[in-house]
Symmetry: C2
Subunit: 202 residues, 2 copies
């Protein structure tokens, strides 16, 4: 691309450095900001900067927070006996959106992936073991994606928790609601037959 302005080129490069944004999209975004009043760009830059400089991670569950302890951990109505272990904060948001879970979370900050060089020491596993060792915790739910790396992580974490007198569970796997049997993969379909559940006729 032939940029007539160094400032334009730098701003396009900044956007294009973000994942999934190519040079053409970056140019479209920059030209959009340029067509808006200066205040819009100032607000945009300040929101990004403030977020990066002031955001905190909950010292209890490692979720993103504005305070040292996040809103979920400090909420007296949440059930402190159940900890739901997730890979990242997007999973916390996804589970919170379902309104089906009232316990606390523990964000690992990734999953064990030798290919990407992420070992157990990079993850928040020690703090999970410490939390699970307190007498009020009775169950740990492993809400990790059922991929090879995910299963490895579940295996490793559950081994670490084995000594403790708590229940360890994983989220249910099976055919999605609205999913067609014929398009489900063999593994999922096979397991969902083995792990069949009693039908409740209301």
């Amino acid at each position: 691309m032939n940029f007539s302005s160094k400032l334009l080129e730098e701003a396009v490069a900044a956007f294009a450095s973000l994942p999934g944004i190519g040079k053409k999209t970056a140019l479209r975004l920059v030209l959009h900001l340029l067509s808006q009043p200066t205040e819009i760009s100032e607000q945009f830059a300040s929101d990004v900067l403030k977020m990066r400089q002031h955001i905190k991670f909950c010292s209890n569950c490692h979720n993103i927070a504005d305070t040292p302890i996040c809103l979920i951990c400090s909420d007296a109505r949440r059930d402190k006996s159940v900890i739901c272990v997730v890979e990242g904060i997007r999973d916390v948001m996804a589970i919170e959106d379902t309104s089906q879970f009232k316990g606390l979370y523990h964000v690992l900050g990734g999953i064990i992936s030798p290919i990407e060089g992420i070992g157990p020491s990079e993850l928040n596993i020690d703090s999970l073991v410490r939390r699970a060792s307190t007498p009020e915790v009775t169950e740990v739910i492993m809400a990790i994606s059922p991929t090879i790396e995910g299963e490895t992580t579940i295996f490793y974490v559950s081994k670490k928790l084995k000594e403790l007198d708590i229940k360890i569970s994983t989220i249910a796997r099976g055919v999605s609601f609205g999913g067609e049997l014929e398009y489900a993969d063999e593994m999922t379909l096979g397991r969902s037959i083995v792990a069949r559940i009693p039908y409740k006729n209301k």
Copy 2:
């Protein structure tokens, strides 16, 4: 979406306000910045801010520039007798990328579009007429997209330039290189037969 942090929510909203970026993509971009060192976000915010606050528009051709007169207009090697009229700065970049044009540009800043409320007075047409009136200019090329709005704009601008003793041309229309005849629309195919060009056998 259930945000555990106000700062996170604001940064996601800032990205999601850009065209073509939804909330999920915005969250992915923000989490990417969050996983990088703070300096990356500082540089990003500063690039955006500097661009918006300091970018200039060439007082001659209205192209984006870092100086009062853009690099193309101030380049002594460019042919000042030909002005290529385009809708926006993206068109300047596209034509510059072809390396086929050595004249100057004139950026209209849009095209006449009654639906979007853009009339001739919103566009840089008066300054084009002034430039085209100088004795050194001999040709004006209308490099505007062949849409209804584009054709309207070409018609309006060429009427404004009619009194002047200059050549007015539009870019060639026809079947694209690599395009298949059977997929070309009737209008393009019909016109490309009427406006056929002599075949040069080398």
